[in-house]
Amino acid sequence: MHIVIKLFGVPLSCPITNSMNIWFSCFLFIIVTPAHIVRLYDRFEALDKEKTGHLRPQDFGAINRLAMNPIGDRIIGAFFSPGQETVDFHSFVRILAHFRPADKKHPKDPSMPEPVNSRTSKLKFAFQLYDQDKDGKISRAELLQVLRSMLEMQVTEEQLESIADRTIQEADLDNDDAISFEEFRKSLEKVNIDHKMSIRFLR
């Protein structure tokens, strides 16, 4: 059994599986165009080696290039909500939907809840990559961890610390030696987040 979706007039077929209900929920809740869902679904199934309909951290770990990514682990972590060991297709798409470019043609409907690809949600996603203990603040230690993974081995601990100090100093408005989300947002005020945190194919 297949469902046929038209993309630019080209029919694409998609197998209907057990997780069809999840599939439809995506239609209902997330505004990702169907063609991408099809594609993501294929990818999801490819990652899901044991065909359970759920992805475990190991499944993500199997992606080779991700192992080389300095913050790969954090991004994998972002897919799993606290306390959850697995991620289903719904959440999978929902997380990836953060990276959709904002839709300029359809202006935001104020009555609708904040879309997942809004500037704030994108920033929140980035923020939680830093904020591993989920206390709403990027502490110096947390920033140091990220810096350490992002910078090459050549940098000394002292250098790291001075960068971290400087970074916090710059963003920290209330002098608590940590960056809150509000401060994080402020420090990136001039950056076009929609450009920097979007991937075209998810449009």
Binding site: I63, I71, L147, T156, E161, Q169, A171
Partner: protein, 890 residues
């Protein structure tokens, strides 16, 4: 073949002429039968360079004049004014000599003027932005230019058939296509000149400008192909020739790019090894980039492509390899050359227009051309954008398209190409030349003049001239990693995937090959961090440093973090004052290890304690290290400031030279080979940086460690302890007139000092700890008389808790001299205002000279040798100075 002819054209005659004239002069001289002429008129000898120099002077003066009126220049683009000036000048020349002597020679243009502009553009091209938009740029450059060329050519032919263009214009389809090809290309010079003043957002700018650079290949190929078609005659063109044209396009474009990249790699590789000859670095950059252009031209490839890619490719590695000074030199020289070239191009465009022989006016042709290029440009942009927006993350909206269409300026390239046409083969050449001039003038002047109001009216997002903060730098890097990860998770080999792959490749292979070791081991983000710090420091100093005068600020730095609780004070203070500047001038060694630690402290100590900022040095600050005479000037400063109050006789620089000479003589005794004076050496000093020696020459570094003269100790001694610690090596040194201070080891490492290092080091680390109490008082008294004299705008008391003269510091912050027995590191690390504390062992008594030297170091380890040297010079002066003998009778 296209431009090969040009080589001979412009310079063959004049240079040959010069030579002939010279021999003629020699012959004429002999005719005078050996009679000696006191003054003779040698115009023919200097003519060519003289005229060139005069033209450059005229161009520069014109530039200066235009910028007198701020209001005027904001409305009228410089290029318009220059063309107008050219018209006027051309008129004058025409009136005086009845015939136009000057015009924009294609040879001169393609071989000298254009490369300077393209080289500058390529080298300073924002690489990330360029490659982010490479797809769009390529589409517009290739498809857009082809579209423009064909449509304009065919439509002109059609209009000709309709009879709108006069019959006098003898041109067939091929001629019109040829004309269409050369008139259709957007010109980099014009685009740069106009867009740089408009300040549209970066994406828009890079697309239009990138297109103007990359369409060169298309133009060259079309021009060549049509030329050959015109030569053989349209009826003889075979189908194979069209395919040859396509193949030629591929070869010209890809070949040009490859040549550029090869030269980029070569250049980067060469700059790996210039550590000892810093002075040659800027020259190398210019040479190689220019050679990339010439080589491409040599193989009749696309020279602009070659140069652009050479610039883009080498920039990252070259900038990392060469010294800060060389970077500045490259930057300013490139900008100067490009600016002058641009000025000359526009002036000569104007002059070229005033030439009777060029005026073959045909209203039909001109108006049709104007309409067609505008219409097809707009159409092409709209259609291509429509396609492009399917694939772009950030679609180009309507406003962007309007600006892109309107910004399709034609310029000097088209003019030079049309002048190159062979009048015998293309009978309508004169008409084409006239039309091209009108088109260029129209686009540059009319569109250039109106694009600014248009951009304002359309509310096109402008470029922000803001430099990213460290937060943005870090987070954007994180975003990049994030996007790569997401693409990997989504199983997509998208843009970020490939960018990441390239970065890996670059890190693992290219950088290893092309960067010198010491640079390779540095982290990019760390460099960025330092750059931002320096920028802040400079901006604070540029603001006059007044922010810091009132409050005694302790800025958070690594070493002081433990000792000073008020870490956040600075930021708070700065924030309250609304300066928005965050100062953190800490200096930290790049290389870990205890061995380097002390040495680096010394470095920072010296490098940080530079001459105090003064108002009149501000301009010099903003472009740090541009002035070569800096060193000398500062010496004079210190010298004069002190001597004024004490010894009127020592004001003159003559004395200084005198003392220099004395030193030199003594030096000569040591080393006869060294026949340069101190002043002569100054520029050389500048080029030496110790940073590189770190990785590659560990041994001398170590030596430096041991023998370094100027010491800041980490743990401050209590004053009581100091007099007790009498150093062993004190007796080594005699009176300064007998034995000059021996060069420190860092000096010994300097190239011109090689081999002097055999003298005993008379200034020991230990010596700095000693200050006899009685001397101290004497010194203090003499100093206090100085205080009112020179009052630098800003001074920040150092935090030196255990210092003997601590109270003095607090009471009179404007000291020029102070006695400082010993300087704990805490004073060295207190940022922005630092001092050099030079201790000099003078036959048993230790003189401590403390001078405020403004903060101007840009890199942790740069200029250590330089500053050590400066310190030594100060010492030498003082050692010969009577004041020394009065204060410290031997």
């Amino acid at each position: 073949p296209l431009r090969r002819v040009l080589l001979i054209l412009p310079f063959g005659t004049p240079l040959g002429g010069v030579y002939k004239e010279r021999t003629k002069d020699a012959a004429r001289l002999s005719e005078f039968n050996g009679k000696m002429l006191l003054v003779s008129w040698e115009w023919s000898y200097v003519q060519t360079p003289y005229i060139i120099a005069i033209w450059i002077l005229v161009a520069s003066v014109a530039k200066i004049l235009f910028h007198f009126s701020q209001r005027f220049t904001t409305v009228v683009p410089e290029s318009c004014m220059l063309i107008l000036l050219g018209l006027v000048l051309g008129g004058i020349v025409l009136l005086t000599s009845k015939k136009q002597l000057y015009q924009l020679e294609p040879g001169l243009f393609f071989l000298f003027l254009l490369p300077t502009i393209v080289g500058d553009a390529g080298y300073f091209m924002p690489a990330r932005l360029f490659f982010d938009n490479l797809g769009a740029i390529l589409l517009y450059a290739v498809v857009g230019t082809l579209w423009n060329a064909f449509c304009t050519g065919f439509c002109l032919y059609g209009v000709k058939l309709l009879g709108i263009i006069d019959q006098k214009v003898q041109a067939g389809l091929m001629e019109f296509l040829l004309f269409g090809a050369l008139i259709s290309a957007v010109d980099p010079v014009a685009v740069l000149a106009v867009f740089e003043e408009v300040h549209v957002n970066e994406t828009l700018f890079i697309i239009v400008f990138g297109e103007s650079l990359l369409n060169d290949a298309v133009t060259v190929v079309l021009y060549k192909v049509y030329m050959s078609f015109v030569e053989v005659g349209p009826e003889n063109v075979q189908t194979a020739d069209y395919f040859k044209g396509v193949a030629s396009f591929l070869i010209v474009s890809i070949g040009g790019t490859m040549v550029g990249l090869i030269f980029a790699a070569l250049l980067a590789f060469i700059t790996r090894f210039t550590k000892k000859v810093r002075i040659i670095e800027p020259l190398l950059v210019f040479l190689m980039v220019y050679l990339a252009y010439l080589t491409a031209e040599l193989f009749s490839l696309s020279a602009i492509l070659s140069m652009t890619f050479c610039g883009i490719g080498c920039n990252k590695y070259v900038e990392a390899n060469i010294s800060q000074k060389s970077r500045t030199t490259v930057k300013y020289t490139m900008k100067t050359l490009a600016s002058i070239a641009e000025t000359i191009i526009f002036i000569f465009l104007g002059i070229s227009a005033v030439d009777k022989s060029k005026w073959a006016w045909d209203t039909g042709l001109i108006s049709c051309t104007l309409i067609f290029i505008f219409v097809f440009r707009a159409l092409g942009v709209v259609m291509q954008t429509w396609v492009l927006n399917w694939f772009r993350l950030v679609p180009l909206d309507k406003i962007d398209q309007v600006v892109m269409s309107y910004g399709g300026l034609r310029g000097a390239v088209a003019f030079a190409l049309v002048v190159l046409l062979d009048a015998e083969r293309v009978p309508a050449k004169d008409y084409f030349v006239a039309t091209t001039i009108i088109v260029v003038f129209f686009t540059v002047m009319f569109q250039g003049l109106t694009i600014k109001p248009l951009v304002n009216w359309l509310k096109v997002p402008r470029a922000t001239n803001r430099k990213p903060t460290i937060n943005e730098e870090i987070h954007e890097r994180a975003f990049d990693h994030c996007l790569t990860a997401v693409e990997d998770i989504a199983g997509l080999n998208g843009y970020h995937h490939w960018r990441d792959k390239w970065e890996q490749f670059d890190k693992n292979y290219l950088s290893k090959l092309l960067l010198r070791k010491s640079v390779y081991r540095k982290s990019e983000l760390w460099e960025v961090y330092q750059k931002i710090n320096i920028r802040d420091a400079i901006s604070v100093i540029d603001q006059g440093g007044n922010v810091l005068t009132s409050a005694r600020l302790s800025l958070p730095s690594m070493a002081s973090r433990a000792s000073f609780p008020e870490v956040t004070n600075v930021t708070n203070y700065l924030r309250e004052n609304g300066s928005g500047v965050c100062l953190d001038l800490q200096v930290i060694d790049n290389v870990p290890g205890a061995k380097v630690e002390e040495e680096s402290e010394t470095h920072h100590f010296l490098a940080g304690n530079l001459y105090k900022p003064r108002r009149r040095y501000q301009s010099h600050y903003s472009r740090h290290f541009m002035t070569v005479g800096d060193h000398e000037r500062q010496d004079r400063e210190i010298f004069q400031r002190n001597m004024k109050s004490r010894m009127e006789t020592f004001k003159t620089t003559r004395h200084k030279r005198h003392s220099h000479k004395k030193d030199r003589k003594q030096d000569l005794n040591d080393k006869p080979r060294r026949n340069v004076s101190w002043q002569d050496k100054d520029p050389v000093v500048v080029t030496v940086e110790s940073e590189d020696e770190k990785g590659e020459h560990l041994e001398p570094e170590k030596e430096e460690d041991v023998g370094i003269t100027f010491v800041a100790r980490k743990v401050p001694d209590t004053p009581k302890e100091r007099p007790k610690s009498v150093p062993a090596g004190l007796e080594v040194c005699q009176s300064p007139s007998v034995a000059p201070p021996s060069p420190t080891c860092s000096e010994r490492n300097l190239p011109w000092k090689g081999g002097i290092g055999t003298l005993p080091v008379c200034v020991s680390m230990e010596a700095t700890k000693i200050i006899p109490i009685d001397l101290q008082q004497a010194w203090n008294q003499s100093i206090s008389s100085l205080e009112s004299l020179a009052s630098p705008p800003a001074f920040m008391g150092n935090h030196v808790p255990h210092c003997l003269t601590h109270s003095t510091t607090e009471q009179s912050p404007n000291h020029t001299h102070q006695l400082r027995p010993s300087n704990p590191l805490s004073s060295a690390t207190s940022p922005s205002r630092r001092r050099v504390f030079i201790s000099f062992n003078n036959s048993g008594s230790t003189v401590s000279i403390d001078s405020d030297i403004h903060y101007k170091h840009t890199h942790t380890h740069t200029h250590t040798g330089y500053w050590t040297n400066t310190a030594m010079m100060i010492l030498r002066k003082y050692s010969e100075h009577p004041i020394m003998s009065t204060l410290f009778p031997i």
